[in-house]
Subunit: 454 residues, 2 copies
């Protein structure tokens, strides 16, 4: 019994017809796929693949710190953007109860509220500040480089208020930084103020950092089961280390996505969870996949301009929004359904009044059965139209299974980088926009550029 | 001074180079574009274009009802899916303060909380039910047909609990239905229970219903300025009625999107607001655009399988997630930036400590200026890479401007339907999935299908 299943049956020609995957195509890719896996396993733990060491790291520093500070705080504010925020949001949506911040402390299991400030919207920032009792709020500033303009702006705004309220000496009790172990502005600021700091290891990029302090510190602070998260990731790691090629879940996911993009022109990859808890896993995946695989040049420096577009969708809700297009529009998409076998609390649908006899078919079923039937029915209906889908199924949404899912998708991303023959760990395409922002904000050294932008 | 601006400069060859829009292409489309506008204006108010009458309708029925019930309720729950939910969510995110449901009643302006249940996730439904004081909750069930399986399941679950709590006689005080004026199960149920009902006019499809009772009743219940919403839509309506072809904002948006899809192969349309308040306008647009334009056949019945993919993005957050792909990946996307000139509450960025001198360029600017610079810088950087973007700018995010924006996008959708020569108002592609769900749920008459799905 595996920790999750990856089912590609509804990508195959047998299921969807002429525009489906063939055994021949899969056989032809098999050697390259296994080479890709071996290359990733060989590089694991070094260079930009240091994140493969995270599942087996000891989380006690996070748990101890959380235990120490929890009595003193009512809320945690994570200030971070991109990979410094998306993992925490994915974990929060998946593992905290719905409406978490609206609940009483008791109803939150004695844990603080959690806010993730991942934008520089002034209205959002203002409204958040006005909600908080800052003397009982822990602000976790996350920036590996320590120079991320958006997060550091938010930090400066928060810091001014914290200092006005508590004085410079007490700042260290209200702040915690997650940053590079030795380099950068945030590290220096933390040292000067005596702020507690946690490390983002050098070879862990933002989008692969969810199982580092970036994701695990907030997780520990709100009482998530960090050990189970890591145990799930470890179990997935063992599976990926031991299964070859198409028998490997990360290879299977990566290989099918790659072939659908390159051999069938399906460059749009929709992730559609049938569990509202998993909706932000799809958003986290969006960064992982887009930023890793969207590249102008391959590793030989040749221009390729590749990269599938990851799209976040949500079942069943988006059946009433996107399904019409998926069903009748261009055949340029592959859907990944994320299903769960068991919900935490299911509800039985009661029988309708006589006037509503047309709804009788629903009665006696649970809401969860309806969700499951819609997922299955939609996958079938898409296949009837010739559209492929992959189905990833978890027994339930808990820390153990979510840890496994995230790690599987990270490994699938690294393997995909090998298949596309690109560097999955850089992001050169965002530099020009950063420079343009510097120029427009009047940063010294960018005067010429400011003139060009106009 | 117009109510909003639509700027296409950064789609043009002058701005983005060889793969940019040319004046010749625009001139060639001009007659067809104006014909499309005239066709829509001629059909306005009839058939499936009855939604064009909504801006000038009298909203006093919503306001009066809201005034009557507001003292008796602490929360409104909207049960609806797709077009019955997305408009309300878009309005709520845009026009209510952030963290609305976490605020005290006083801090909500004396208005009830608002929950939109747009899915059949059992955990979400269970957690919502456990949050509510059902005796002081108004449940607004929205289904035009009255047979939407998901919403009616949620209704049955809620109704059982309401009846157990308050008795059948009192159900009418805790429910309000929004449905077809004369047909359907929900209409019959409402009549039998004596529930107050509001109409979805016959010629208003779900995705064009935000300015009907579907959106305006919840809006009125939580104290939004419904009259200003309609006034903005009316002003946009007048503009669209009086400006021809490329001078018309809805035509301009529709025409540029259409040409980028059909002449340049840019079938992905990203909407990227630089205001967190507008994030769910992008989600609402996602349904509007996908379900209206994603069609298998044209109006001559020929197979076309058209439809651009609308993608929801968010500035600046997604610069740290999607921009790498937009910048370096395939040239198959057109970005629409939604910008606002003025935020409600701006915040000045304080000067950093000496250790963080690298951040000095931020000091003295406001957070809103940073947001604006990032938007401008990103549009420029994408153009440098040859990628087109449209910029829609509002003075501020308020009911008046949001009403205008939504109406402009609805009209642009109808005009696009003419350009693609498809029926923008049906959704035949979702039927097979519905039938499959019926079959899997054991609905009589679908036994054969159940066997095929397996």
């Amino acid at each position: 019994m595996q920790i999750l299943s990856v089912d590609i049956e509804r990508t195959m020609d047998k299921a969807i017809g002429d525009c489906g995957m063939t055994q021949e195509l899969m056989d032809a890719l098999a050697p390259k796929l296994e080479e890709a896996r071996v290359a990733v396993m060989r590089a694991a733990g070094s260079g930009w693949l240091e994140w493969t060491d995270l599942p087996s790291a000891d989380p006690s520093q996070f748990l101890d710190y959380a235990k120490e500070v929890r009595p003193h705080i009512d809320a945690v504010v994570v200030i971070g953007i991109g990979g410094s925020a998306l993992g925490t949001t994915a974990l929060a949506t998946a593992l905290l109860p719905f409406y978490y911040n609206e609940r009483s402390r008791q109803d939150r299991g004695g844990n603080p509220k959690l806010y993730v400030l991942d934008n520089v919207d002034p209205d959002e920032t203002f409204d958040l500040l006005s909600r908080l009792d800052l003397k009982r709020t822990l602000v976790n500033v996350i920036s590996k480089s320590g120079t991320t303009g958006e997060s550091m702006s938010s930090y400066l705004v928060f810091r001014q208020r914290l200092e006005a309220l508590a004085g410079r000496e007490k700042l260290k009790d209200l702040l915690v930084f997650t940053t590079d172990p030795s380099e950068g502005v945030l590290r220096k600021l933390g040292a000067s103020l005596g702020v507690r700091m946690f490390d983002v290891p050098a070879g862990v990029g933002g989008r692969f950092s969810v199982l580092s302090a970036v994701g695990l510190l907030p997780a520990a602070l709100v009482g998530m089961d960090v050990e189970e998260l890591l145990r799930g990731a470890q179990e997935m790691e063992s599976w990926i280390a031991s299964a070859e090629g198409w028998d490997n879940p990360a290879c299977l996911f990566a290989g099918i996505q790659y072939l659908n993009d390159t051999a069938f022109g399906r460059g749009i990859s929709v992730m559609m969870p049938y569990s509202a808890r998993l909706r932000d896993v799809a958003d986290w995946f969006r960064q992982l996949w887009a930023e890793s695989l969207g590249k102008a040049v391959n590793r030989q420096g040749e221009t390729v301009n590749v990269g599938p577009l990851p799209v976040k969708s949500l079942g069943v809700t988006d059946q009433h929004s996107q399904l019409q297009l998926y069903s009748e529009g261009p055949d340029d998409k592959i859907i990944t359904f994320l299903g769960v076998k068991e919900f935490q609390n299911d509800l039985t649908i009661p029988a309708p009044d006589a006037e509503a006899a047309a709804l009788s078919y629903l009665a006696g079923h649970t809401i969860g059965e309806l969700m499951w039937a819609e997922q299955k029915g939609t996958a079938w209906a898409l296949a009837e139209r010739g559209h492929p889908s992959v189905t990833i199924t978890l027994d339930r949404v808990d820390a153990y299974h979510v840890g496994a899912l995230l790690y599987m998708l990270e490994m699938a991303t690294a393997i995909s980088g090998e298949l596309y023959d690109i560097d999955a760990f850089n992001q050169p395409g965002v530099e020009l926009s950063k420079k343009a922002t510097y120029a427009l904000m009047g940063r010294p050294g960018y005067e010429d550029l400011a003139g060009r932008i106009g």
